[in-house]
Symmetry: C2
Subunit: 221 residues, 2 copies
């Protein structure tokens, strides 16, 4: 993708990518997005679950949401998804950093009005959160579909930024007697906890027992 002005990585541009596959990989591994919009009283950033349907990011909410109500004209968003991979401990305080991968998407999200499309979008959202769950969960009724605001944001204007590797210190600091390196961080999954009001004798599904984010490295913690 050729980046627009606002989607161009300016600080440390060597960390940027505009490759569609890189964008998709971060979005598919990520779980929540931070969605920014211009509110009446200034910027607002809210955490939201999301899904990906091809080249569109899917967001949903209540039709009463003051934030996502943008009408037919859509709503200008900046959506950011960040994966934290590690903490970088440099010899100097100044060069401490973070290893991460993030996607920033700019664009106008428009409502998905067609009910079949809306169903497909919500399917993608559930499938993004827990791959495999969609076929087990009771599908949305028409009333639920009509009662859900679904927005689609094209993945046209976006970038990936990533930092990897160890600390980068000043030459004069290299002999300081202080440990330097990376503390790796990852999201890990605990044992699934059954609902206290679970009435049926359903076993924990394999997608819950063996849950992990697509693309995430398996790491013994």
């Amino acid at each position: 993708m050729a980046p627009t002005a606002r989607a161009t990585v300016r600080r440390l541009p060597e960390r940027g990518s505009y490759d569609r596959a890189d964008v998709h990989a971060v979005l598919d591994e990520g779980l929540i997005a931070h969605v920014g919009l211009a509110g009446d009283d200034g910027p607002v950033v809210i955490p939201m679950l999301y899904g990906r349907l091809g080249d569109r990011l899917i967001l949903h909410g209540s039709p009463a949401s003051r934030l996502l109500r943008g009408g037919a004209k859509g709503v200008d968003l900046c959506v950011t998804v960040t994966l934290i991979d590690g903490l970088v401990l440099a010899r100097s305080a100044f060069h401490h950093s973070m290893n991460y991968r993030s996607v920033v998407i700019f664009g106008r999200a428009t409502p998905v009005r067609d009910l079949d499309e809306r169903r497909a979008a919500l399917d993608a959202l559930v499938e993004h959160i827990v791959p495999g769950r969609r076929v087990d969960a009771r599908p949305p009724t028409e009333k639920e579909l009509r009662g859900t605001l679904v927005l689609a944001l094209p993945l046209d204007e976006c970038s990936v930024k990533a930092r990897t590797g160890g600390p980068k210190d000043e030459p004069e600091d290299m002999d300081l007697d202080v440990w330097a390196g990376v503390i790796p961080l990852a999201t890990t999954v605990g044992e699934p906890v059954a609902a206290t009001d679970l009435r049926v004798d359903a076993p924990v599904p394999a997608y819950a027992r063996g849950y992990r984010r697509p693309g995430a490295q398996v790491r013994s913690a």
Copy 2:
């Protein structure tokens, strides 16, 4: 704290809190913030490391940053920190949800100009990322201090929102033959990896070996 209009939790207000201790707890456990501001071409959200110095959130960046350059007048921000605690698998697709804790802060960040204050703010930032590290790392030189833009955002206008517990399904779905419950998620820490160019025989510090976020539950993964 008495919430302002924009800092009032409107969707599911029973999940909201304006308690200062609740705000601090989430900020101290969190690692990165998503910082939103009104750019020339619409909203922009960027992930940033942060620190907390008393009742102020500390952000930093390069003086060349197009985003944080706001001059003496400061820059209007919305800063959101989100901790993900679990995925909520309801019987119906519609009621799938997430357990989380998030803080949303509104306000105007102003530059920390005094060099001693700036040093204290950057100390708080390093200490937030890796508690214990500050005393080992080489402190900022005056040149580094002068070359760092440090912003302080008062924690006056903010809220915490949290969801905990199991799925909340419709009464008519309670007997569906499908497992329901929560998949717990947490951040876990891998073995520290020494820098490949580490020249000294420094052992891995205890704060790196036993790293965990303040307040985070220890979980066997």
